[in-house]
């Protein structure tokens, strides 16, 4: 082969290769990018949480647990707040419908049930001397709405896993304590060592992702924790549970009332044993209705004494029907009596 011929051949090959490449370039479809395999986040999650300012809980006298002692028992004097409610034909109560075992819709019936809801029904029963459902109207409210709804008179009272704090006492009155909750930590069982003692303290969660709801006292506490966990804030507590199950957060820290409901829905979750702090629950009432607070305290005295409290605790979904025993606070927290009322305001 002569040099010239070889050159021609080389040039021809180069041209043909270029043409072939150009043709291939035309024919190929655009490249599909690598996707994001991480699980999606629930709507409205703040990761990390956006916090205004973390304020430490104030100390106060009388203590946040103290309420007003009953005055007239469960009698309804003319002109009293109870008489007005009676004239209105119904007791309006702000509740939750999303917290398992406290205030939730039974998926089978669509009816509201839970410990808070049943306590509210007992108060309506004491006012109207009847447990006809028409005498009680539930308004489902968010945790953020609790104080405003009471202050504005949109509801007669709020029974919604509400901790009595000194700050809140400035805005509303509380009944005596009707349940003592505790702040705990919920984590997933360690797959490598299922019997391992669960995480007990926030100090063990440094660098870990910990979930609570936006605007809750828990999210502030997580963010203020010196061990520096990453606070992840969700719209709803159940969103925290989803994230824990999906592995997008490592722990949830809040009241055992909420966490116990989660544990009941997923046996692979473990609760810490030692309470981080106690959370006394009270019924919030407008500050202009001290008589209603005293009346509610009398009703609470009564149900503590006659076993109704214990029956609701044992089965809030159908407290008095032995045949329909569902999950209850008793099966989760173990047997417990009602907290002793403290008065002195």
């Amino acid at each position: 082969m002569t040099r010239a011929r070889r050159r021609v051949l080389a040039a021809t090959t180069a041209v043909l290769t270029a043409l072939a490449l150009a043709a291939c370039g035309m024919a190929t479809t655009p490249e599909l990018p690598a996707g994001d395999a991480r699980p999606p986040m629930p709507v409205g999650v703040q990761d990390p949480a956006v916090l205004p300012e973390a304020k430490p809980a104030a100390e106060c006298t009388p203590a946040a647990r103290q309420s007003f002692a009953p005055a007239n028992g469960t009698a309804i004097p003319d002109g009293s707040s109870m008489a007005k409610i009676k004239a209105n034909g119904k007791l309006v109560v702000g509740v939750d419908q999303n917290t398992y075992l406290f205030g939730y819709r039974d998926p089978a019936t669509g009816n509201l049930t839970g410990f808070d809801v049943e306590i509210a029904r007992q108060i309506a029963k004491a006012i109207f001397k009847s447990d006809d459902p028409k005498y009680i109207q539930f308004k489902t409210i968010t945790s953020k709405q609790r104080i405003d709804f009471v202050k504005n008179g949109d509801v007669d009272m709020v029974v919604r896993t509400m901790t009595m704090t000194c700050d809140r006492w400035n805005d509303v009155y509380f009944s005596s304590e009707y349940l003592t909750a505790e702040q705990l930590i919920l984590t997933k069982r360690d797959p490598a060592d299922p019997g391992k003692k669960p995480i007990q303290k926030l100090s063990e969660l440094g660098g870990k992702r910990v979930c609570a709801t936006i605007g809750s006292t828990s999210i502030n506490q997580i963010a203020a924790e010196p061990s520096k966990p990453v606070a992840v804030a969700a719209l709803e507590w159940t969103d925290c549970l989803v994230m824990l199950q999906q592995g997008t957060v490592d722990a949830i820290s809040t009241d055992n009332t909420i966490l116990a409901g989660f544990q009941a829905q997923d046996p692979n979750l473990v609760l810490s044993d030692e309470p981080i702090k106690q959370e006394p629950y009270g019924i919030a009432i407008n500050k202009e209705r001290k008589d209603l607070v005293q009346f509610v305290n009398a009703v609470l005295e009564q149900i503590r004494a006659d076993g109704t409290w214990a029956a609701i605790y044992a089965d809030p979904s159908s407290p008095f029907d032995e045949k329909k025993k569902g999950p209850s606070l008793a099966t989760i927290f173990g047997a417990a009596g009602p907290p002793a009322p403290q008065y002195g305001r």
Binding site: P30, G35, P40, N98, K139, T140, L235, D239, Q245
Partner: protein, 460 residues
């Protein structure tokens, strides 16, 4: 050109034996000047002049033929693309978008109903997922841009994750566990925030490409028209000129050529313009109307999803957010400037007039019902709110939203038929035009050559 040629002495040409042939002039100036000189030669009818005319006629005739053939072939390719390429991608993308929206609304409704859902509701959800998956594969095979590829990647990767969450939510709900609602909200949120925007991107991308192809397929065949008209003018001029200079009124060859070019102009012009108008109609009352209607339908389905999610979220901030999304969707959909009103205003199909005005009435009734059920929910009458949301009786949201959806689906179907009909008609109107134009231009060339060669020969 070397300057000495110009400056050199004029070489005398041998005189022709024919008497009527005028004196030949030497070339002066550039080629254009020379052509002008030949054409306007006072003697006229010289072989050189006629040869030049014949050359120009040949170029114009062949040019018209080539322009007409390539226009018809190109247009046919574009129409094929409208029908099978971009058109198919566009419709597949739209199907993905609609099926996913419907799946989301159906899953939310089924969840809200609680317990074991009715078989037809379950079937509808499964059909939606099935259709979305199949149409996604169809779309993936016809994508040509990176944006479309990105959207397809998000959809293909996300769809199985979404269905996984829906099934988790369904199972938990059937076991009576409240966390099921959170999974349903997670699935729906993923659909609203990831999958539907990707489906929307894919559809917009396909629509833009389809529109561009439709635009170029509905252009008038300007080059063919200009060339053919120029050919006709030159033929007319030549014939008049010849008639003046000789005693023959008609030149059969040139007359035949004129006829052929005229037929070529009328046929391919008419065919192309007809095809263009079919494509325009297929766009205006077909694909563009499908897009408007589908946008309205998708907004309605998303509003329906949010309506269900407000109740599934059972109060709380998630419910508030869902209600806000519902209001956003409804504001986009309803009102004088809303998506539905726009689609109704653009409708040109008299058969759909009643269907679409019925859809508007249904939409307004649904908005009223939603206000009532939302009020019931806020006031704690949850079961009434759920019953109104799911109800299949007159005036209940379940029936109203379904009626609206069916009316819009019917209108989309009709617009789709129109699109297909017009695209097919466009293609049919071009049948034979390509070959015809080619043959006619050759006939014209042959006839003109013959006609002029005779005249040229007469001078020899």
């Amino acid at each position: 050109m070397p300057t000495e040629t110009k400056a050199g002495p004029v070489i005398p040409r041998p005189r022709s034996s024919t008497v009527d042939v005028p004196r030949q002039r030497g070339p002066r100036g550039g080629p254009i000047a020379r052509v002008r000189t030949v054409l306007t030669a006072s003697g006229g009818g010289t072989p050189a002049r006629l040869t030049l005319i014949l050359a120009i006629l040949a170029v114009l005739t062949l040019g018209s033929g080539v322009a007409a053939v390539s226009d018809v072939v190109g247009r046919d390719e574009q129409i094929t693309d409208v029908a099978d390429g971009n058109g198919r991608l566009g419709l597949a993308a739209l199907e993905v978008y609609q099926s996913l929206s419907d799946a989301d609304a159906t899953a939310a409704g089924a969840f809200l109903a609680g317990g074991v859902e009715r078989p037809e509701v379950r079937a509808r959800y499964l059909e939606d997922v099935n259709r979305a998956t199949v149409q996604l594969a169809t779309a993936a095979a016809s994508i040509t841009t990176q944006d479309a590829a990105d959207a397809v990647a998000v959809l293909s990767a996300g769809l199985p994750v979404y269905t996984g969450y829906v099934e988790t939510a369904r199972t938990l709900n059937q076991q009576g566990l409240p966390v099921g609602a959170a999974y349903l909200r997670l699935a729906s949120g993923m659909m609203q925030n990831e999958l539907l925007p990707a489906a929307r991107d894919l559809q917009k991308n396909a629509t833009t490409q389809l529109g561009e192809t439709q635009d170029s397929a509905s252009l008038w065949p300007f080059i063919t028209i200009v060339l053919a008209v120029a050919t006709l003018l030159l033929l007319a001029y030549t014939q008049r000129d010849l008639a003046k200079r000789t005693n023959r009124v008609f030149n059969i060859g040139l007359l035949t050529a004129t006829g052929a070019v005229l037929v070529l102009l009328l046929w391919t012009g008419a065919a192309s313009i007809l095809a263009a108008s079919h494509i325009s109609s297929g766009r205006e009352n077909g694909s563009a109307q499908i897009e408007r209607l589908a946008e309205a339908r998708i907004a309605a389905l998303q509003a329906r999803t949010q309506e269900a999610v407000t109740l599934i979220a059972r109060g709380g901030d998630a419910a508030t957010k869902a209600e806000e999304s519902y209001v956003t969707q409804m504001n986009a959909l309803s009102g004088d400037q809303g998506l539905l009103a726009k689609a109704v205003a653009a409708n040109a199909d008299p058969a759909l007039k009643d269907v679409l005005s019925g859809a508007q009435t249904t939409l307004n009734a649904w908005i009223d019902t939603h206000k009532k059920l939302h009020q019931a929910d806020v006031l704690g009458d949850y079961n009434t709110a759920v019953a109104m949301a799911l109800g299949e009786k007159d005036g209940e949201a379940g029936k109203l939203s379904r009626d609206l959806d069916q009316a819009l689906a019917k209108a989309i179907d009709a617009a789709g038929k129109h699109f297909h009909e017009q695209t097919t008609s466009a293609r049919n109107s071009l049948t034979g035009a390509g070959i015809g134009a080619g043959l006619l231009s050759l006939i014209a060339l042959a006839a003109a050559t013959r006609g002029l060669q005779r005249r040229i020969a007469e001078y020899r």
